[in-house]
């Protein structure tokens, strides 16, 4: 514990350097902006800014990219409350009561409690991260290829289980993601695989163009003609500080939301969306006035907003301690770490303590910046929302094209982004979710290497995955997750989306 605190102080020493403070500020501001804007999310933004960070040192770069992750959670609530359109997928639930509060003239209180709740939850999850990540990393040193393979299989099945549409379709996307992720030279024999003679594909398909296409351009194409007439809250914003009664009603939900979000966010594959729905359902169940939910109950804003922020902190734990991303967003961060020449995994904390502790300390500073800056900046965000979507969509497309091109200075990546924009649009229209695809795309090469090494280790026996206790535990969990829907028609992800 004392050692962790000393390391945290060291982290603050790094995070408070002027350059890192500046990039933290840029990250949280960018995050808030993309969170506010419907049509582009943090995943695409991180991919977009990735090439721009090559000239930075890795610590500043990761500090900025992390800032986008949690900044987007703050920004997403603004659009949900003022526009009734979630700026971010993980702010969907905030629309239910946040927008109703705005209609009743309490937009200020809704925005205020959402910012304070996010800050409290963010702080809680950072302390959770400090306590858990190093311990988990020490534990993960015992992991060999079978454990990593089993863990990744478990993560992918959890993602599919939590899919809001068909679980089979989500699994299909995960498998397709593995196929795409393994395109390129074979890691052992260097045989070109599914490259179709295209030289640029020898190193594999880049994550940036895939994400630009799936989450950036596809989103714009999908919103053509839909987001043109968004009605922005027209009233004057007042009373951004919640009153005593608001606090009395919100403190319990914020605490529960923080706990729920953090611990669910820890699980590979869970992310921030499902915990938010769960926290809303929990508060509704615990409330003495459940009928107020959906009609402007402040608990319905406080808990989900705390929850999605805490969940983001939670998702950083498997990323930083195991090197396993649990959401599409952290999958890109994993890609970024690799590009900077760092090896994500249990040794990251030991080998690069400056990066690990610097990033954690910056998260606390970033949360503080967001709290201080976010409330006064809300009128500015409202103005941003009034920019016609025709302009925004055009610029989103342009930034995606530049982002895709600049990673390798190759027009092939633009073609890839365009192809994946069509793929992304069709997937959405045919009720396939792109998130499992991206996660599996990043995990694909790691999964393949772990599988092949495991089989070589065991001389071809698949029993190796069941003979080692940790790996057997992960596989068992994955099997339970896969089989559970056969015995019960209730599935978490689907049940939640239908209920709400």
């Amino acid at each position: 514990m004392l050692e962790s605190l000393a390391s945290l102080l060291y982290g603050f020493d790094i995070a408070l350097q002027p350059q890192n403070l500046l990039y933290c500020f840029i990250g949280v501001t960018m995050g808030t902006l993309v969170g506010v804007l419907p049509g582009i999310g943090p995943t695409a933004t991180i991919a977009l800014l990735l090439p721009a960070t090559f000239s930075l040192n890795p610590i500043s770069a990761i500090i900025m990219l992390s800032g986008i992750c949690y900044g987007a959670m703050y920004g997403g609530s603004t659009t949900s409350i003022l526009l009734n359109i979630p700026g971010e997928a993980s702010s969907v639930v905030t629309c239910f009561d946040g927008y109703q509060m705005a209609r009743q003239g309490r937009a200020g209180a809704a925005l205020g409690i959402s910012a304070f709740g996010s800050f409290i939850a963010g702080t809680f999850s950072i302390f959770g991260l400090i306590l858990l990540a190093p311990t988990l990393a020490d534990f993960a040193l015992k992991f060999g290829p079978p454990e990593y393979f089993a863990l990744m299989v478990m993560g992918l099945t959890v993602v599919a289980y939590l899919a809001r549409k068909s679980m089979a379709k989500a699994l299909m996307m995960a498998v397709f993601g593995i196929i795409l992720g393994c395109v390129g030279l074979d890691p052992i024999t260097a045989t070109p695989r599914f490259t179709f003679g295209i030289l640029e594909l020898a190193d594999g398909i880049g994550i940036a163009p895939v994400v630009m296409g799936l989450f950036g351009i596809a989103e714009v194409l999908e919103n053509l003609g839909v987001l043109t007439k968004a009605a922005v809250f027209a009233g004057k914003l007042k009373g951004l500080f919640p009153n005593r009664e608001d606090w009395r009603r919100s403190i319990g939900p914020i605490t529960r939301g923080s706990l729920l979000g953090f611990f669910l966010g820890l699980l590979p594959g869970v992310g921030a969306i499902v915990p938010q729905f769960l926290s809303y359902a929990l508060e509704k169940k615990l409330s003495r006035h459940p009928e107020q939910f959906g009609n402007g109950a402040i608990e319905g804003v406080a808990s989900p907003e705390a929850c999605n922020n805490a969940a983001v902190g939670g998702t950083f734990i498997p990323l930083l301690s195991l090197g396993i991303p649990s959401t599409a967003m952290t999958a890109i961060l994993l890609g970024a770490l690799m590009i900077y020449g760092l090896t994500p995994g249990p040794l990251l904390i030991k080998n690069s303590p400056d990066l690990f502790w610097g990033v954690i300390a910056s998260m606390y500073i970033g949360n503080l910046m967001l709290l201080i800056l976010n409330l006064p900046l809300i009128p500015l965000w409202v103005r941003v929302l009034k920019i016609p979507y025709s302009y925004l969509s055009t610029f989103i497309i342009l930034f995606c094209l530049i982002g895709a091109y600049s990673l390798n200075n190759s027009t092939t990546d633009i073609y890839i982004a365009v192809v994946f924009s069509i793929v992304g649009l069709l997937l959405k229209k045919f009720a396939f979710e792109p998130a499992p695809l991206v996660l599996a795309f990043v995990l694909g090469p790691l999964l393949e290497t772990a599988l092949r090494r495991s089989l070589i280790l065991s001389d071809g026996s698949l029993l190796i995955f069941l003979q080692r206790p940790i790996s057997a535990g992960f596989i068992l969990f994955a099997v339970v997750v896969l089989v559970a829907p056969l015995f019960s028609h209730i599935r978490l992800g689907r049940g939640l989306s239908e209920e709400d």
Binding site: I179, S390, N409, S421, K429, A431
Partner: protein
């Protein structure tokens, strides 16, 4: 109407069956190796096979029920989307030939003026400002090398 929903969901499943089969075929050509020493096509073959099985499940499900309905396909403006995609492909084709500034200016003017129906004077003005801003941010500040093309800019 119900039949349309089943057939679109079923059609997507058939597409994925085909993708799975082609992946398996490509994997066998790469060489599957053995369980003791997996080859270059090993992961592709098993992934392709699982994809086929899952797609068949979705296909059967779509035949049995109309549950997996497709979203509002008719709301999509396919002509507009095709135009945008074509313009993006042309952008990729001409980017290194004509340079970032000129190609991007043409693309933005087209997207704003033609696709979004913004008035042309404003479209050209916004496109020029955006190109200059992007050039300043990416090329001058972030030191990202943008293509120059035959005109040198």
């Amino acid at each position: 109407m119900k039949r349309t929903k089943i057939s679109t969901s079923g059609a997507s499943a058939i597409f994925w069956v085909a993708v799975g089969i082609l992946t398996c075929y490509g994997a066998t050509r790469l060489g599957l190796g053995s369980v003791t020493e997996p080859g270059a096509g090993f992961i592709f073959f098993w992934s392709g096979l699982i994809l086929v099985l899952l797609s068949l499940m979705v296909l059967v499900d779509s035949i049995r029920s109309a549950e997996h309905m497709v979203g509002d396909m008719e709301k999509i403006n396919w002509a507009k989307i095709a135009l945008i995609l074509l313009s993006l492909l042309l952008y990729a084709f001409f980017l290194e030939r004509l340079g970032f500034v000129l190609t991007t200016f043409i693309l933005l003017s087209f997207l704003l003026g033609w696709i979004e129906r913004t008035n042309w004077a404003r479209s050209l003005g916004v496109a020029s400002a955006a190109v200059l801003a992007c050039f300043a941010i990416f090329e001058l500040w972030l030191k990202i090398r943008l293509p120059k093309g035959i005109f040198g800019f």
